[in-house]
């Protein structure tokens, strides 16, 4: 179902329709937050807060300004960056929690290495890389969220990947 018709049902008072929004975005949102280098517990907390804030601000969402996915990922991105900022000010906690349910396609060790390498990237690099791998996310949407041009998005993604590769290779040595 189109997101606009779901939003229209919500405006008419159908609270349950929001469950469809959650179901549609929860999995890619967790993927995005995971790539931001957050632990599973923090991902859950931020994903939940994202949906709650989306509900509260739904009246202010304007489809003429942005797509709904851009809008919801902007909320998640801002919350994640705030969390990363807070975490940076806290004394370092060793060993971010590993996935409780590691993905079957990749062993836990690879995912652990990826997460450790992601943690070494700047939050802005992590953000752009995390957005780039959200399924169906267009570079124009990323540019809108990051406040830069499509060309700049391409360059930043490339640089972030190079840095990530370097961290992973260093880890191999």
């Amino acid at each position: 179902m189109e997101i606009e018709s779901i939003l229209a049902r919500i405006r008419l008072g159908d609270r349950k329709a929001f469950a469809e929004v959650v179901m549609r975005f929860q999995k890619p949102l967790f993927g995005f937050l995971g790539r931001m280098g957050l632990s599973q517990a923090v991902c859950e907390e931020i994903a939940q807060e994202t949906f709650v804030r989306a509900w509260i601000s739904l009246g202010r969402y304007d489809p003429a300004i942005s797509m709904f996915s851009t809008w919801i990922y902007t909320i998640a991105r801002n919350l994640a960056l705030n969390e990363l900022g807070k975490a940076a000010r806290r004394p370092e906690i060793s060993g971010e929690s590993l996935p409780e349910h590691p993905c079957e396609a990749h062993p836990a060790e690879s995912m652990n290495r990826l997460q450790q390498a992601l943690l070494k990237l700047d939050p802005s690099d992590r953000s752009i890389l995390a957005l780039a791998y959200v399924e169906g996310m267009a570079q124009s949407e990323i540019a809108q969220m990051e406040g830069c041009s499509k060309g700049a998005v391409k360059v930043r993604i490339h640089r972030a990947k190079q840095k990530l590769k370097a961290f992973l290779e260093k880890d191999d040595e």
Binding site: R11, M23, G34, C103, Q115, K165
Partner: protein
Amino acid sequence: MNEDIEKLLETNLFDPPESFLDEVMLRIEVLPLPVRETRKLEWIALIGGTIAGVLQLFAFLFGIWAATAAG
């Protein structure tokens, strides 16, 4: 190496727990329904239109008064 990184990045590190949807909906239940805000531009247009209408009315009344006063 590049392919490995691509595959790793394409994979979600975490999946939402089964209870996630229920937890979100529980929090939503207690919140008021979102109300669509009338957009700022709509308000500006409404106020601007009202002022223009009132001025038009005054201009019309002034025209009638001026015509009658001139005899």
